[in-house]
């Protein structure tokens, strides 16, 4: 039953990623991103508890794992969205006319087809890795690794097609979630300091991006990516 729950949560994360992709408004995207992070944290907690009870890792390592999950939720579901919400308020996105129509250059049905192909591709690509002889992987890894690949790929696609700067910001966050997902599904004896280091990197990157967002809006009066290629005094 525990592994059923993990599989269901992993598929739920894929579905939430697709929902983030088809959303047009940055607020909704952020709310779904928070949901995704919380589900990912729950998934990490389940994996940690299951590994400790089956004896895959020791209690101290399990606590380490759980601590990383809690810190991740605290940073990515609370601190980063709060900063972005503040930036949105600061540049007054709701009042700017270019906020409304589309967040991505590709239309929604086409994006869904692309996401669908990416998910299939990630399952196809990861399959030979999972059955390769010399490495024996945990059963959780074989179940969850393709899903994490799919999320990184969809995040990459979102970053490539984003029309506004904040679209790329959210794509970066989604990709980071995918990478964290890959780490929780493969390596259970991760030293906490490494993960906290990665998390801090992302936090710093997001903060710089948020400051950039405000600065871009101040000097160009728009955050549309395609208008940023004109040089301006």
């Amino acid at each position: 039953m525990a592994s059923e729950l993990e599989l269901a949560l992993s598929v739920g994360i894929i579905v939430i990623t697709i929902i983030i992709m088809v959303n047009n408004q940055v607020r909704n995207q952020l709310i779904w991103f928070i949901t995704q992070t919380v589900v990912l944290g729950l998934l990490a907690l389940t994996i940690g508890i299951a590994e400790v009870t089956t004896g895959g890792i020791s209690l101290v390592e399990g606590l380490n794992f759980v601590a990383i999950a809690v810190i991740t939720i605290a940073v990515k579901a609370i601190a980063i969205p709060a900063a972005i919400f503040k930036a949105i308020k600061r540049i007054n996105l709701d009042a700017s006319p270019d906020e409304q129509p589309k967040a991505f250059t590709v239309s929604v049905p086409r994006s869904i087809i692309v996401a669908f192909i990416l998910v299939l591709l990630s399952y196809l690509i990861v399959q030979p890795v999972l059955v390769a002889e010399p490495v024996v992987l945990a059963s959780i890894t074989t179940m969850l690794l393709p899903a994490s690949f799919a999320i990184v790929l969809i995040g990459l696609y979102m970053a490539a097609t984003a029309k506004k700067v904040y679209g790329q910001l959210i794509a970066l966050l989604v990709m980071e979630n995918g990478i964290y997902f890959a780490s929780v599904s493969t390596i259970f004896e991760f030293p906490a300091i490494v993960d906290i280091g990665i998390l801090f990197d992302v936090f710093a990157a997001i903060m710089i991006l948020v400051i950039f967002l405000i600065a871009i809006h101040r000097s160009f009066d728009t955050i549309q990516v395609n208008k940023l290629n004109e040089l301006k005094e």
């Binding site: 039953m1 599989l7 894929i14 579905v15 929902i19 929604v108 049905p109 869904i112 299939l120 196809l124």
Partner: protein
């Protein structure tokens, strides 16, 4: 066929018929709570049914026999369908058909409902049935695909067989496509049962109503039958969702302890789903009609993904 399964099938069908107003009551109560209203008691739908069954009815002179027959046809469809659903034990009365028969029963239900709405010639009925048929046309492929995914994983199309296969050999059947099909089927459930974001089940505003527009001409006993059958249809879909995709706790053999835990697990799962529906209905608004194909497209892609992944 053995007698025990038949008896359990009938008992489970009766239980679903009895529970369906309660499920609606729970959804309404939760919705009221989320919207900071007090809301009616959760047994209010039973009172509504009792009131409607004790009233006489008014039938338009323009109406033909289809209008009179349709409530009974709809009720027969759901009564046949409920006996096939495994509720607390995997044995059920599904000798006469598998899940494809269930889908056809639901299609017949919808066909007669749309026909009866057209029959009186009111403009609301025609509008409602045209919308309903459009929604069902874009939902039905998804429903079939998610069922095919289940059939490909469990190698059977019988409902009791699906529930039993997933419950008894869970570790072999762990497959991401099971849960992809779950999400697709959840969106199908919302569309088929006229819930948000496809239809607003509480509105009587002519611009937005779909299901309500179709039963607008009915009154008294016929209205009661129509509403009761649509509530039971929602309960059927919820039972399918919880017992096909998450058959945790369902009894696979006849024992007192298994049946008791099966009943508790079923009630728990249904209540969780009812709360999820209420949460959804309080947090999002109804979509524009022309935005619905995008949503059904997501569901279709999820179900298609499930089918392809189940062969990988």
């Amino acid at each position: 066929m053995d007698a025990e399964s038949a008896i359990f099938g009938l008992i489970q069908g009766a239980a679903l018929l009895f529970l369906s107003p309660l499920v609606i009551g729970i959804v309404r109560k939760c919705k009221a709570t989320f919207q900071s209203r007090r809301g009616a008691s959760i047994i209010q739908p039973y009172y509504e049914l009792a009131k409607q069954f004790s009233k006489g009815q008014v039938i338009s002179r323009q109406a033909s026999w289809i209008f009179r027959v349709a409530p009974y046809v709809c009720m027969t469809c759901v009564v046949l369908a409920v006996t096939m659903i495994p509720v607390f034990i995997t044995a059920s009365f599904d000798y006469f058909g598998n899940i494809l028969v269930l889908v056809s029963l639901m299609a017949m239900y919808r066909f007669f409902m749309a026909l009866s709405a057209l029959d009186t010639g009111s403009s609301f009925g025609g509008m409602g049935s045209s919308r309903e048929v459009m929604i069902s046309a874009i939902m039905e492929p998804t429903m079939f695909l998610s069922i095919f995914a289940m059939a490909a994983i469990t190698q059977t199309t019988f409902l009791s067989g699906i529930a039993e296969a997933i419950q008894s050999q869970a570790s072999n059947l762990l497959h991401p496509s099971l849960y992809l099909a779950f999400f697709a089927f959840f969106i199908v459930m919302l569309g088929e049962n006229a819930r948000f974001p496809f239809d607003n089940p509480t509105t009587h505003l002519e611009l937005t109503m779909v299901h309500e527009a179709m039963i607008l001409e009915y009154s008294g006993k016929s209205l009661g039958l129509m509403e009761y059958s649509s509530w039971t249809k929602l309960t059927i879909f919820l039972a399918l969702l919880v017992n096909m995709f998450f058959p945790w706790g369902i009894a696979t053999s006849i024992s007192l302890w298994g049946i008791v835990s099966g009943i508790c697990a079923f009630l728990g799962k249904i209540i969780v789903l009812a709360i999820v529906i209420a949460l959804l209905e309080s947090s999002i608004s109804k979509f524009r009609l022309f935005k619905l194909p995008a949503l059904s497209w997501i569901a279709f892609c999820l179900a298609f993904m499930a089918v392809i992944l189940s062969f990988l």
